[in-house]
């Protein structure tokens, strides 16, 4: 019986994981993973919310005062019922919490484990912009060009104050901290442009600290990279 329960739990937890790995050539699709978990989570909290709200509305209407001298006839709980009203809801909440935490870590691990063969780009935040350095030596400011379909590791640091590198369309963000090296990874599924913006307050022009990630076909990217890589002298 215990074994059976464990298996069911495992199946529940790992079924979506299998779905996540489709169509991305090995690297998990963390953007779709986020959207998927978000939808599940919205269902979860909407169900709890609607149940509570309906009960609240029912109680608020049903027990309104009808005579001015009326008093409540609140229930006197037995010892058992009183404990039951604590431990049963607590177990239900706890079960939901553990379920959500397990789902969370599955996606979290994918977000934090950079797929093998990722292309690493260094990004340094400053007041107010992003300096980008490619492993080949090319540099850019605020425009991060990447090849399509390839996992990109962004190694982050900051020159002055806290910043946070945020690509809303890809659901990725991480803080750039002075004196520390942090990272995030993403992969652009299709060619196109997406906003990069700063998400940690960094002073006067915080809201103007934005740029874009330009996802290019591999060949175009190579061409651009070659043209912008400084010649060895």
């Amino acid at each position: 019986m215990k074994m059976l329960m464990r298996l069911t739990l495992a199946a529940l937890l790992f079924a979506p994981a299998a779905a996540l790995a489709e169509n991305t050539g090995g690297a998990p699709d963390i953007t779709e993973g986020w959207n998927h978990l978000w939808r599940e989570l919205m269902i979860d909290i909407t169900v709890i919310g609607v149940i509570f709200a309906l009960i609240t509305v029912y109680l608020l209407i049903k027990y309104r005062r009808r005579r001015s001298d009326e008093e409540g006839k609140g229930v006197k709980l037995t010892q058992l019922a009183s404990a039951g009203w604590v431990f049963i809801p607590a177990f239900i909440f706890m079960a939901d919490d553990i379920f959500l935490a397990a789902k969370n870590f599955e996606l979290w691990n994918k977000m934090r484990e950079v797929p093998e063969g990722a292309y690493e780009v260094k990004v340094e935040g400053f007041m107010w912009g992003w300096d980008i350095t490619y492993p080949e030596g090319a540099t850019a400011t605020n425009e991060l060009r990447v090849p399509v379909g390839k996992p990109i590791k962004v190694s982050l640091t900051s020159r002055d104050v806290l910043h946070s590198f945020f690509i809303p369309d890809y659901r990725v963000k991480w803080d750039a901290v002075p004196g520390m090296n942090t990272y995030l990874w993403f992969s652009g599924k299709e060619a196109g442009e997406h906003v990069i913006t700063c998400a940690e307050y960094c002073g006067t022009l915080h809201s103007s600290m934005y740029g874009k990630v330009i996802v290019m076909p591999e060949a175009e990217f190579e061409e651009w990279l070659k043209a912008n890589t400084p010649k060895k002298s």
């Binding site: 006839k73 709980l77 934005y210």
Partner: protein
């Protein structure tokens, strides 16, 4: 029953307080007057910080400059809004105003244990308010947000010292208040007022002050280090000299997350009082609510700070622990919600203005609480953090829900405090405007957040598609402002021209309503209070 409770009634002192004397107010040590002064200070902070909110919402209503062309001006508004709303309004309103007014009355005491320390707390708080208001006078106002994160707060041209000293003044005030109220609750209860007979509000206040006493010093340390770094040349947070900004982030949230519960618990206590009184019903599962709900929150308060730092560069093992501990907060908080619903069950609910706010709380806090669950989950949090989702969520769960408790609680205490009734019609109009406005503004705020709009933005050129949503959120904020004006008018009208209030207009069973006149004289009950064995603050239907 009533004849056995107060042994002797001394009426002589009543007359002394009836004539207004500024000197008496300034040098007062009477807990009820200190409460009124706290109330004025807290609502003044609310008012000014609210104006900042209106300026910001107006600024955001259109792309590009609207009210000001200087982003720094906007940042100063935002700093003031956050710092003043939390440190100047919510904490003092709940642990200053309500605690002062209710604690001695509810436990049958003449005053707090240390009335002069109480006056000191209050004056420190007022100095903090003045310090915060100087933001608008000095040439280099702080622009460090209420979080004051280094290194920005150290290298900025803004005056971080004002931030530090505002926090320290409020902190000292809180520590003195904590010592005072814990002593009062432990030693000043009337004979027969056993732990099992305390009002929910007393338990919640006790819990809130335990949290304050443990954690406020840590915030004090953090902001002091900030000022030392900026002005004295230490290097606590300077990466180049081996320090780290992460030290500050940890210290700051080690206080500032528990601070959420310092606000939440007394607010919950007030909602419990209103719900019990207005449904004339015993509190559902009272003892278990205290042990597992209120004390459960205290037990978990200090274990969840790092969920603010999931993407700040903390180690993975800490994230693991924090995801669990944060999700588990849903248990005590969920229990307290069940307790409120259980108190409505088979009650006799009267929809006076305080109860409207309490009913509003049930929905607003439900939305606020449930939208906290995504934030606990680190992977979901990655996208949501520092977007509009966060202000949307914490305005629901903290700003707005706790304000329903503060405004509702003020209406509730109004007849006792002023001796007059407010106008129910104005009360209802104010509530309706408030409830509609906050839902428009903060629902849209959350939606913009999920779409990726980052918070603390003066402008949003990179997200032009947000403009219509921003505009509707601004419309909502104007409705809130209208509601706030109606509330203020109803209070001023009630306090000066309201009908005389009877001793117990609500038909409550709680001590302050059944045994103290409205308003109570200095010394409260005019004699020794003795609590009979069969007395219960929620003894309805007997």
């Amino acid at each position: 029953m009533s004849s056995t409770m107060v042994t002797e009634r001394v009426e002589t002192s009543v007359g002394a307080s009836s004539k207004f004397s500024l000197k008496e107010w300034i040098f007062t040590t009477d807990h009820k007057r200190v409460a009124v002064l706290y109330m004025i200070g807290a609502f003044a902070a609310f008012f000014v910080a609210g104006i900042m909110a209106m300026l910001m919402r107006t600024e955001l209503a259109s792309l590009g400059p609207t009210v000001t062309a200087n982003p720094n001006t906007y940042n100063v508004w935002l700093y003031f809004h956050g710092a003043a709303m939390i440190l100047g309004y919510q904490i003092p309103a709940l642990t200053g105003f309500f605690a002062n007014y209710y604690v001695p009355l509810m436990i049958g005491a003449k005053d707090v244990a240390f009335p002069r320390v109480n006056a000191l707390s209050f004056w420190l708080f007022w100095m903090g308010i003045v310090m915060a208001l100087l933001t608008f006078v000095i040439p280099d106002p702080p622009d460090v947000m209420w979080t004051g994160y280094p290194p920005y707060s150290i290298i900025t041209g803004g005056n971080t010292a004002f931030y530090t000293f505002t926090v320290l003044l409020m902190g000292f005030s809180s520590i003195a208040g904590g010592v005072n109220f814990l002593t009062t609750i432990i030693y000043m209860r009337a004979p027969g007022m056993t732990w099992g007979k305390l009002n929910m509000f007393i338990w919640c206040t006790l819990a809130a002050f335990i949290i304050q006493l443990i954690f406020v010093p840590i915030l004090g340390v953090a902001v002091t280090m900030l000022t030392l770094d900026k002005y004295v040349g230490t290097h606590f947070f300077d990466a180049a000299a081996g320090g780290s900004a992460l030290i500050y982030e940890n210290l700051f949230w080690f206080y500032s997350h528990p601070a959420v519960y310092v606000i939440f618990l007394p607010a919950m206590g007030i909602i419990y009082e209103i719900v019990a009184t207005f449904s004339r019903n015993a509190i559902f599962n009272y003892k278990k609510m205290v042990y597992y709900g209120v004390m459960g929150v205290v037990a978990l308060a200090g274990l969840v700070w790092a969920h603010h730092l999931y993407v700040a560069g903390i180690p993975n093992w800490l994230v693991l622990i924090q995801v669990f501990s944060t999700l588990i907060i849903s248990i005590p908080v969920g229990l307290l919600m069940i307790g409120l619903l259980g108190t409505l069950y088979k009650g006799s609910i009267h929809y006076g203005t305080p109860m409207l706010y309490a009913a509003g709380f049930l929905f607003l806090f439900l939305i606020g609480g449930l939208t906290g669950i995504p934030n606990a989950m680190s992977a979901i949090y990655v996208h949501l953090t520092d977007t509009y989702w966060m202000p949307g969520h914490f305005h629901y769960v903290m700003a707005v829900s706790m304000t329903t408790a503060i405004i509702g609680g003020t209406y509730y205490v109004f007849p006792k405090m002023t001796g007059r009734m407010y106008s129910e019609t104005l009360g209802r109009i104010g509530f309706a405007l408030f409830f509609i406005g906050v839902n428009i503004t903060f629902m849209l705020t959350m939606i913009m957040g999920v779409k990726g709009m980052p918070r603390r933005y003066y402008d949003y050129q990179q997200f032009p598609e947000m403009e219509p949503l921003q505009q509707w959120a601004t419309v909502g904020s104007y409705i809130i402002l209208l509601g706030a004006i109606v509330v203020l008018i109803s209070w001023i009208h009630g306090a000066f021209w309201g009908k005389k209030a009877p001793q117990n207009p609500w038909g409550s069973r709680s001590l302050e309503w059944t045994h103290a006149p409205s308003p109570p004289p200095p010394g409260n009950y005019g004699g020794e209070v003795r609590i009979p064995d069969d007395w219960d603050p929620y003894g309805y239907g007997k």
